[in-house]
């Protein structure tokens, strides 16, 4: 497949992720949207890594592939922290909807 196809898939995933984050009222869906955005970036990194791997002076495309591995770890760490925080919110408010946690306002 050509580079353009990968970039198109990744752009679509990015857009779906952003729309999910903006429209969903349940925080678990919002976190899923964030994961989609992170994985969109990952597809880009791997695809560009393969592209530059075939070019002279591209360093074998290793930078992109390394970045993708680190992004997977980042996404896992972020999900762990975020879910712990959501659990805490659920215990405090008995709900996982951001609109029902509204102690802080003007």
């Amino acid at each position: 497949m050509s580079l353009g196809a990968y970039v198109a898939v990744s752009a679509a995933l990015f857009a779906i992720g952003i729309v999910t984050i903006v429209t969903r009222r349940n925080i678990l869906y919002v976190l899923m949207g964030i994961e989609m955005v992170l994985n969109a970036a990952n597809i880009n990194f791997v695809a560009f890594g393969r592209h530059y791997g075939g070019l002279p002076g591209g360093g074998g495309g290793l930078e992109g592939k390394m970045f993708a591995i680190f992004t997977i770890i980042l996404a896992a760490a972020e999900a762990a922290v975020a879910l712990a925080i959501v659990l805490n919110v659920f215990q405090a408010f008995n709900s996982v909807k951001p609109s029902e946690a509204d102690q802080l306002r003007e």
């Binding site: 591209g58 360093g59 992004t71 972020e78 925080i85």
Partner: protein, 500 residues
């Protein structure tokens, strides 16, 4: 291999931070959560060692050409050391705030220090790298620790809500920034900022062939930074998180975390667009980035100040004031000239001092009145002059009136703006300072111009002492500006020269 071993002394401060972090973890486990104050004292001592190492490094970097890049990705230069020193200083102040917070538990809070040190280590890497992978890792280390810190008071609904809002906005902006970085990698074939500016597929070459993808990538990355330093339109999380988080954590987020974001932003823009002898395409794009920053700066300071006018909670008011201050710093950056960047660095240093002091004051009175409402301060001004008089100094400095460091910083920004064709922005800043006078002096009015109230004041002499020291520094650096100015000059100079 020997090359790597020879490079190790250059990252001695980072190694010391890591060792300290592990020591704090082990000691906390050995104490089994009893008497966490001991962990706090250990943290303070360790931070002292890190500061000593950093001061040694600053001295070594004084000779020309001493700045270097180690491990191919960490820049050891005065710019990074400057921010690391201030980070250690503010971390020490925050640890002190935790130790002196009368409302905080005495036991089982060892993780507090662990998370603060983790965030500090993230800042260390974030401010000293031109490699976007390491930048991202440092940023996430800082962010993940900050999310947990914001929700540290587990039973507290406000703390839980603050952490949730922080993690959602933070995750979104990290994703957007990462996507921008992936595009930058696709465009240039490298994740190193220096190579991006000059490599075989340099940004300059790509500007001329296809400006749109480059613009999209850079705007996405800038959005990630804008969230970290709470610039309009990425500021929505700031008031809620600052209000809900425990006050020492708020002071950390407002001071160390925000300044680290600015440091990384300065390096990102500087490496790409402030290159000596850059060709026309880069300069043209740099000018456009400058114009974008100028507009964001005007919006940020105006919105921050106007929103601060109608707040009744001190923490919320200081949150909006910190948004406004981000606008002032951006103004220095927007000049895209060394003089403006010096002013921005100077203002950041001023910002450290006066905001730490102001949050110390909030902490002091929270444990007296149990709330951070401005109304609850009524008539308490004469009760604790050792704290209220320093607070007046901080407020004078935040407004930007002499003889304080805030005035000097604003004056430098104003001059830099006028000199570099941003007269309109300088005028906007001057008007904004007048607006800020109104809300800052509501605190003074509540303290001193109301009927004296009867209330017993618990003794908090250590906290009062640290606030007093910060106030003395605020005035001292305002009157005697040469050393701080020289440090800022040396830092920006090392950024321009670059390393390796």
């Amino acid at each position: 291999m020997s090359n790597y071993l020879q490079s190790l002394p250059s990252i001695a401060p980072e190694i010391a931070m890591t060792v300290l972090l592990c020591a704090v973890l082990v000691v906390d486990l050995l104490l089994k959560g009893r008497d966490s104050r001991k962990v706090g004292y250990l943290t303070l001592g360790g931070l002292g060692v890190v500061a000593w190492l950093l001061l040694g490094q600053w001295g070594e970097l004084g000779s020309a050409g001493a700045a270097k890049r180690v491990f191919g990705m960490i820049d050891i230069d005065r710019f990074s050391t400057f921010f690391k020193l201030f980070t250690v200083g503010s971390l020490a102040a925050v640890v002190l705030f935790v130790l002196l917070d009368r409302r905080e538990r005495r036991h089982g809070i060892g993780e507090y220090y662990l998370l603060l040190l983790g965030a500090g280590l993230g800042i260390f890497f974030m401010v000293s790298t031109s490699n976007l992978l390491l930048l991202m890792l440092g940023l996430e280390l800082l962010s993940l620790a900050s999310y947990s810190l914001a929700g540290f008071h587990k039973g507290d609904k406000r703390s839980a809500e603050a952490a949730m809002k922080y993690v959602v906005f933070g995750g979104l902006s990290a994703g957007v920034m990462l996507y921008g970085i992936s595009l930058l990698y696709g465009i240039t074939g490298t994740i190193d900022l220096t190579e991006m500016a000059s490599g075989p597929h340099s940004l300059a070459a790509q500007f001329s062939s296809g400006p749109v993808p480059v613009a999209v990538a850079i705007v996405l990355v800038l959005a990630g930074f804008a969230y970290k330093v709470s610039v309009v339109p990425f500021h929505f999380w700031t008031p809620d998180v600052y209000e809900g988080a425990p006050t020492p954590v708020t002071s950390f987020l407002a001071v160390a975390s925000k300044a680290a974001g600015f440091a990384a932003l300065l390096r990102f823009v500087g490496k790409l667009f402030l290159v000596d002898g850059a060709d026309g395409a880069v300069q043209q794009y740099g000018a456009r980035i400058g114009a974008l920053l100028a507009i964001l700066s005007a919006l940020t300071m105006t919105l921050g100040n106007l929103a601060a006018l109608r707040q009744s909670s001190m923490k919320r008011m200081l949150a909006y004031s910190s948004i406004a201050h981000a606008g002032y710093v951006l103004m220095g950056m927007a000049t895209m000239e060394s003089s403006g960047w010096n002013a921005a660095m100077f203002y950041l240093a001023a910002y450290y001092l006066m905001n730490l002091g102001a949050f110390g004051f909030v902490l002091y009175f929270e444990s007296v009145t149990g709330s951070d409402d401005i109304a609850s301060l009524k008539g308490l001004g004469a009760k604790a002059l050792w704290v209220t008089v320093p607070m007046v100094v901080f407020l004078v400095s935040l407004t930007g009136l002499p003889p304080t460091v805030g005035f000097t910083g604003k004056y430098m920004l104003f001059v830099a703006g006028v000199d570099n064709g941003l007269l309109w922005l300088s005028l906007v800043m001057a008007l904004n300072s007048v607006v800020s006078l109104f809300y800052y002096f509501r605190i003074v009015k509540a303290l001193f111009l109301a009927e004296p109230a009867e209330r017993s004041m618990p003794g908090q002499s250590a906290l009062a002492g640290s606030i007093f020291v910060l106030a003395v520094l605020t005035v001292l650096f305002g009157l005697y500006i040469a050393p701080l100015q020289a440090w800022c000059d040396a830092s920006v100079e090392s950024l321009r020269l670059g390393a390796g």
